[in-house]
Structure formats: structure tokens, C-alpha cells
Symmetry: D2
Subunit: 147 residues, 4 copies
């Protein structure tokens, strides 16, 4: 859903740069998660409340990133986040890190699985969360394939 | 107590360096805390157990550091940690960051207060903790002054 | 200068919380530095440019913080930053971390010294930097005391 | 090469735990990189020297991780690192995070490409680095496929 794509902005801070003079690759995931937190708040599921209420948990089971262009100190960056798959008990989020000139600097993906509060087993996504995520998909049909 | 001074070693990793080419000052506190965790384990109070048992908490109420020489990527560093004060409901830890050539690169200090499990009030240090910390002081007398 | 006090806002992210359930104390310095970067940009000295041009450096020589109230996941926080001293070759910045209800959660202080590009010696603050920082002081007189 | 597999140990520190009570997923990459730095030192290419000499660079072009079991505060963890592919101008490292009881907690992979010092183009892996990495492969044959 092009118009629904979520945007999160940041500027690469001094402390994200490493000894090689570019953003340390691991920090990309911190920014991706900050974008994810902002996104979850925007769609009605602020993570701090979700965690405090404790009814369910959404741990990451997979994360990956591709680095195309170095991110440097002071670079203004926009993270474009959208769900690419919403499954029975998990969902996939895609992130594109776009530089000030419109160039794609990096992309990332995280896979989240809904677990029961005791963490022992995957459970179906809560219906309101499933609906909110699906509304952000390009194709709104519930994906029944296993993730 | 020279012989009791606790030592913790680390090598400055690539990701601790910032855009100015030296260790980001805030990361010194991460290493100080890693040394503190190792120290607490060594004197019989591993923090993970203390936190899980939940009988008391030891939040930091103050932290400070002086930076004398830049820490650079790959620098082998020894943290020398010792309590400098053990009070009624709080204690002070001092840290010296020593480089490979024996030079003092930085020093730090943290002040910890024992709180009841609900965090609402400072409580006297648990007697075994007080004893273990005091045994590491140069002067073993219980300091009665307020911190 | 009350009207000139600089404000920087952030929301405590999930990854800043530690095993004790509150913001890890060391992360306060990361947020303080993010505020400092924003401040330096606002007064005309964006750190990324200053570092790239390489004419001078502003390493921290001291940092400290006092923690009054725990910062928790999701807490909306405002950092109020102001110079409290502008000396011959160094300056002091004070930070107050204010919660959503107006309460003071923490305060911090950083001391920065201007060094020659080779890092070998403290040098007088560049005049435009001195002027920009002094304009933010309550008392605009140049402080001649040693820091 | 079973006997050549590199091991790096760490204990999950307090500050790696997040608001959900487990290690923040992004920190796994910091530990992976610490293991990589130790590995590179062990095979004769300490990264701090490589970077200072500046003859070539090894930026990450891809990183990924699978999270199987939560890592908790105090967990003693061994990272087992080995190259899984050594190509013309890039190489792949695999990491397994093994808990104290021998369980696989997480796995990760990083892909590194050798770039000319100006970062403009991928260049063939330096011959000594190619040889050192290949000696750690199960199959020592040089992989000619593109990565």
C-alpha cells in the first residue's frame, strides 16, 4: 500500500560510526527497531504497552540486512517500513533505508512470531494486530502459507 | 587493599570507535559496568541472580568519568575496580582504565544505592553485601557518613 | 538564558532498557550526546562538518550524571541543554532530562576541551564557537577561570 | 574443518537485555563482530592494523541471524565461527551461538567484500587473507563462484 508506507527519519549520529569510518552494520538493526516501534505505535500497538500488559509477545525469529552504500556521520536517512507478509502466527517487515538524495543505502527484514506469554509456543496473531498489519500490505489477503 | 583490587580486561572493539576516531565516551560506562558485573560475580553476588531473586535492587544514582588519553581501536585495556566507600545504604566504586603501557587512560566512578524491591525507598545494604564490599576497601571500617 | 535553552526530545526505546527493567545508565550519555549534536547543529557547528573539516577537535574530558527517577520503556523525555560555562579552551554543557509530567528524571554534565587537530594540546576555543556558546549562557561574560 | 573452528566466549551482560527481558536481537551482531575481530587477529589480520594500514577494506555487504532460543542475562555463550565460503572478492562467515548446555541459541552469517581503499570497487581478496580463510574451510578449494 504505497500511501500507507510508514516513514521514520533519523540522522546518523557520531556514535554510530565505527573505526572504519562508516556506520557499524549492527546499528542498522537498532534504527530498524526504532522504526518498528514507531510503526507499532502508529497502528495502535505501542510496544511498551504490549509488553506491560503481557498478554502476548512478538520476539524476532529472523533478521537480515543488505548494505549497498556506506552510511556516514550526519547522513539524513528515511526508513520506509512495510509489512511484506502477514501469516498465521508471524509477520515479516521490510525496511528500506533511503538517503537524502533518494538513493537506497540499505535494506533490512525482520520476522516476528507471536508467542504465548510464557514463550513456550507460537500462537495465532491476535486478530486486531493481524488486521492492522494486513491493512498495510499491498495485497490485503491473509497469507495462509507457513512462515 | 592492593592485593584485593579487581581486574577486568578488554580490547577496544571496532564498534566502540566513533566518528572522531576514538572510543565514544559513553561506551566507557558499558565497560565499567561489565567490570562491575564481573566483580559482583567474583565476590559472590552475580547480578543476574540478584535481579532474578528480586529481593533487592542496586540502581546507580551517580556516574562520572574523566578522560585523559584517547582509547583507540585495538587498545588492550585493564579496568582496576575497587570500592572507595561503603555506606549505610549505598556504595561507591572506582575504576581506573589502564593501557597496555601502564598509562592511566581514564577513570570512572559509580554510586549505587540499595533500594527495596518496589524501588520506593533506599534501604540498608544487605549485611553480606556490605561485608563483601567492605573487605575490598583499603580501610575496612564501616563508613557511617551519608553518601 | 531561559528563552535560549535548547530542547531535544526522545522516547525511551525498547533496547535502552536493561535486565533491571529501567534504562541502562550508560545510555543516558548517548542521548545527551545526541542532544549535543542537535544543539551544535542549531548554533551553526554541525559536528559532522567540524570533524570532516578537521581544523579542530572537541573531545570530552569529563562526563557525569545523576539519576533521580528510573526511565522506563516508552517514556517521553525532553533534554534541556545549556552551556553553564564557556572558558578559554573548554566549555561545560548541562543537561536536564525531563519526563512527560515535568519531573526531573536525571541530569548530566559534559566538559569539552578544544584540541589542536593533532590532539596534542588544548588550544583556545575558536572565536565563533566561543561567541555562539556564550550567547547561550545566562551570564554572557567570558569566564576567565580555568576549567 | 572441525579442529580449526574458532571459538569466542562471552556472558550476556545486563545492558544487552531489553524491555522484553531477553537479549536485544541487534546486540547479537555486536557479539558476532567481536568474535570476528578475535578470529581475524588469530589468523594474522588484526582489524585495527588492517584499518590503520589502509591498504584495503572489508565492509559487510550482508548480515543475517536466526534466533532459536532467548538469550538471557548471565547466559554463558560460545560463538563458533567458521568461513563457509571464500570467493574471489568476498567471503562468508558463519556463527553459531551455543549455550552452556550445548544448545544452539542462535546462528548468524556475515558476508564481507574486499574493497579498494577508496571504497569505489570490489577487488580480489588479498592472497594471504584468501589463503588464511581458505585454510579454515572444510573444503580448501578456492570457490570461483560469484558471491
Amino acid at each position: 500500500m504505497g500511501d500507507g508506507e510508514f516513514e521514520y527519519r533519523f540522522k546518523v549520529p557520531l556514535h554510530d560510526i565505527d573505526a572504519a569510518g562508516i556506520m557499524f552494520f549492527g546499528h542498522l538493526f537498532r534504527h530498524a527497531h526504532d522504526a518498528y516501534e514507531a510503526f507499532m505505535g502508529a497502528i495502535g500497538f505501542p510496544l511498551d504497552q504490549v509488553i506491560r500488559e503481557g498478554s502476548w509477545r512478538l520476539p524476532l525469529v529472523h533478521a537480515e540486512a543488505d548494505y549497498r552504500l556506506p552510511l556516514r556521520h550526519g547522513d539524513k536517512t528515511t526508513v520506509r517500513l512495510s509489512p511484506s507478509k502477514v501469516g498465521h502466527s508471524s509477520f515479516v517487515l521490510d525496511y528500506r533505508f533511503i538517503g537524502d538524495g533518494g538513493q537506497l543505502s540499505a535494506s533490512a527484514r525482520t520476522v516476528h512470531a507471536q508467542m504465548a506469554a510464557d514463550g513456550a509456543a507460537a500462537v495465532p496473531l491476535a486478530e486486531p494486530l493481524w488486521a492492522a498489519l494486513s491493512a498495510r500490505l499491498v495485497d490485503h489477503g491473509r497469507d495462509q502459507s507457513s512462515l
